[in-house]
């Protein structure tokens, strides 16, 4: 029972923490730090926050963050750059992928 309780209380908190890490890394790369990043914020393509240079920096910073957290973050999958289903299409999609990879 105790294990069950801890698994439902800790897991959502961890996912939320990972999401905050991803959003903080995104904001750290922006000139304008007052931009509010939400799940729907586009990262690449039309209206996206990041140019190609920032996208590379974001990927490397997330890789480093993942290493510190004890897992490996791979941004080189076939789907990574797809506008419709890629992890970089929105901040929320990126956070979801980061969380998913932390659980593998």
């Amino acid at each position: 029972m105790k294990v069950f309780l801890s698994s439902i209380s800790i897991y959502p908190l961890l996912a939320m923490e990972l999401k905050i890490i991803v959003f903080n890394v995104i904001v750290s790369l922006l000139e304008n730090k007052t931009i509010e990043v939400s799940d729907e914020t586009p990262l690449i393509g039309e209206g996206g926050l990041l140019d190609s240079m920032k996208l590379v920096e974001l990927s490397l910073k997330l890789e480093d963050a993942a290493t510190d957290l004890g897992f490996e973050f791979d941004w080189t999958s076939d789907a990574a750059m797809s506008r419709s289903r890629g992890m970089f299409r929105t901040a929320g999609a990126l956070a979801a992928e980061f969380i998913a990879q932390s659980e593998r």
Binding site: M53, V56, L60, E63, T67, T76
Partner: protein
């Protein structure tokens, strides 16, 4: 530390020995690393997985990579129509994909440092369109094209990417050529002289030097074409 592919023989080996003699740390990659006189690991550069796992190992060990020299290469002198498909595939995989994979996988080290050099290898066969080297020349033409575009992508991070295109240098790669064939190729260079692995090592040193910081995306033709 400079990562050098094809480090067990030929140009790669000569470059490693030269850099080592200048107290520059090198890390050699080759399929057979049994007799290296410097640190290295066994790796087939045409395998993305193998290259990736070496990079992960270096990262875990906290080794700072500030340069990459893609000297691994294979050749098969043959007319295109008599080249078996497996040979064509092997040449493209090692020469072109091997270079691309190593650049993709080791570049993040250099990007993090916001400085570094990548040196790729082409051949005079591209510029001269040498008969009997179609597939080899195609693989190296790919390396030249990749070098030019990749240099632009890396310029944002102060990483320079260049390519050295030697003529016939006395290494194992020349095994399939006769002395008169070699002489014919050399005669087409602007400076009609056969150069040595030492000359190539000089050029590598030059490109690694801070004073070459304004050069990127260039193909340097040894002997001139």
């Amino acid at each position: 530390m400079i990562v050098v592919t094809g480090a067990s023989k030929g140009l790669g080996r000569a470059i490693c020995e030269r850099l080592k003699s200048k107290n520059i740390e090198v890390f050699g990659l080759a399929r057979d690393v049994s007799d290296l006189s410097f640190p290295g690991m066994s790796c087939d550069v045409s395998s993305y997985k193998e290259v990736k796992s070496i990079a992960q190992h270096l990262k875990r060990e906290g080794i700072n990579v500030d340069g990459l020299i893609n000297a691994a290469g294979i050749a098969s002198m043959n007319l295109a129509i008599t080249t078996p498909p497996e040979v064509s595939e092997r040449i493209i995989r090692t020469n072109l994909l091997g270079t691309i994979f190593c650049c993709q996988i080791f570049a993040p080290f250099l990007i993090r440092n916001k400085i570094g050099n990548i040196i790729n290898f082409s051949t005079i066969a591209v510029a001269l369109g040498l008969k009997g080297e179609s597939v080899y020349a195609a693989s190296k033409a790919g390396v030249e094209g990749f070098t030019r575009s990749f240099a632009r992508e890396m310029a944002d991070f102060s990483v320079n990417v260049n390519c050295i295109a030697p003529g016939p240098i006395d290494t194992n790669l020349l095994k399939g050529l006769t002395a008169s064939q070699i002489a014919k190729i050399i005669a087409q260079q602007i400076i009609p002289r056969q150069y040595t692995p030492d000359t190539i090592s000089d050029l590598v040193e030059l490109l690694l030097d801070k004073r070459s910081a304004s050069l990127s995306g260039q193909v340097l033709h040894v002997g001139g074409v």
